[in-house]
């Protein structure tokens, strides 16, 4: 007779996208892993547990990738939850379209790497 497969693993595992209600895409497609976000200067109420943790992290500008890493949540989940918070005006994203980068900005980057 074969043994019953172990069940323990299933009990402490929450599928990541449960937090996002099953969504795998952010409402705002311009959000990227490196997009910096920052919380707005007003008290926020009625936030979900995950959203509140994210807003707490965003007092200073921080990238979505760092939020995911800090909270130990998958990147895709972080993008969706941050997208919701941006939509609700709880977080403000910075523009980071590489097309907009000016030559002087590239020069600054080159000088910075050289000085490392």
């Amino acid at each position: 007779m074969t043994e019953r497969p172990p069940r323990a693993a299933a009990q402490d595992f929450v599928r990541p996208f449960v937090i996002t209600g099953g969504r795998t895409r952010a409402a705002d497609a311009s959000l990227k892993v490196e997009t910096m976000v920052q919380s707005v200067d007003r008290p926020l109420t009625n936030l979900s547990f995950e959203a509140a943790r994210i807003v707490d992290l965003c007092y200073e500008p921080i990238s979505i990738a760092e939020i995911a890493s800090e909270l130990g949540i998958p990147l895709g989940v972080a993008i969706v939850v941050v997208g919701d918070l941006v939509n609700e005006n709880c977080l403000e994203p910075s523009c980071n379209d590489p097309v907009e980068i000016e030559l002087s900005t590239l020069t600054r980057m080159i000088e910075r790497v050289r000085a490392l």
Binding site: P16, F17, E34, M36, A65, C95, D97, L103, V113, R114
Partner: protein, 213 residues
């Protein structure tokens, strides 16, 4: 994206004075730039990031769920695959307005479908090549060529491997002359810096050429 965030990097300062109504009063506009490091599995991407990042490379998981057409069909539950893949990234702060992020792409070919999310919006890429397994980086070369993402090739030399001259590697990989190819031992900070500078200068030249055209 909605209007208040359409300001370019150069217009950032202007945004602070003529601020959008929702702008936070402590507004410290910080923009970010992403560079990606690609190449075959085990070629040294994580080491590369580690060599220049001001923070220990951070790991993040990308959860992947297979998007089944019939998600609610319980007979398919056994086939539904959830798996995660770790990605490394590092950071270089340029100044108080600009941060550079370096992302290593997942090396295994089976994760190539994730590259679109990761590489979307990248300023440029470093493709690391291992002379013992050159073919491993073909997929990355093809990918950035097809996307027209500026890239440079870093030839990572591993201990006992024969040291092929750059022109030979260039020929073996079929790299056109305008794409820089540099020696790059991922453990050597100076060589990694050189690879990044070469990439940024390459991007600079492409931008400048486009402007004067």
């Amino acid at each position: 994206m909605s209007a208040p965030f359409d300001s370019s990097v150069g217009a950032t300062q202007a945004t602070q004075s003529g601020a959008a109504p929702s702008a936070p009063s402590r507004a410290r506009r910080v923009t970010s730039v992403k560079l990606v490091v690609a190449g075959g599995f085990g070629v040294g991407k994580t080491t590369f990031v580690n060599s220049v990042s001001e923070i220990p490379p951070l790991k993040t998981e990308a959860a992947m769920t297979s998007e089944s057409k019939s998600v609610d069909d319980t007979t398919l539950i056994d086939q539904k695959v959830t798996t995660t893949v770790a990605m490394d990234f590092g950071r270089i702060t340029v100044d108080d307005q600009l941060v550079m992020y370096l992302f290593g792409t997942p090396g295994q070919e089976r994760f190539a479908f994730m590259w679109d999310d990761l590489c979307d919006g990248a300023l440029g890429a470093v493709v690391l090549a291992d002379t013992r397994r050159l073919a491993d980086c073909f997929i990355a070369l093809d990918y950035f060529e097809a996307r027209k993402t500026p890239f440079v090739v870093g030839v990572n030399h591993f201990g006992d491997a024969y040291h092929y001259p750059i022109p030979e590697v260039r020929e073996a990989l079929g790299i056109p002359d305008h794409v820089p190819v540099v020696d790059c031992d991922a453990r050597d900070r100076e060589m990694v810096k050189n690879a990044l500078i070469t990439l940024l200068q390459h991007v600079y030249e492409i931008r400048r050429a486009a402007m004067t055209r």
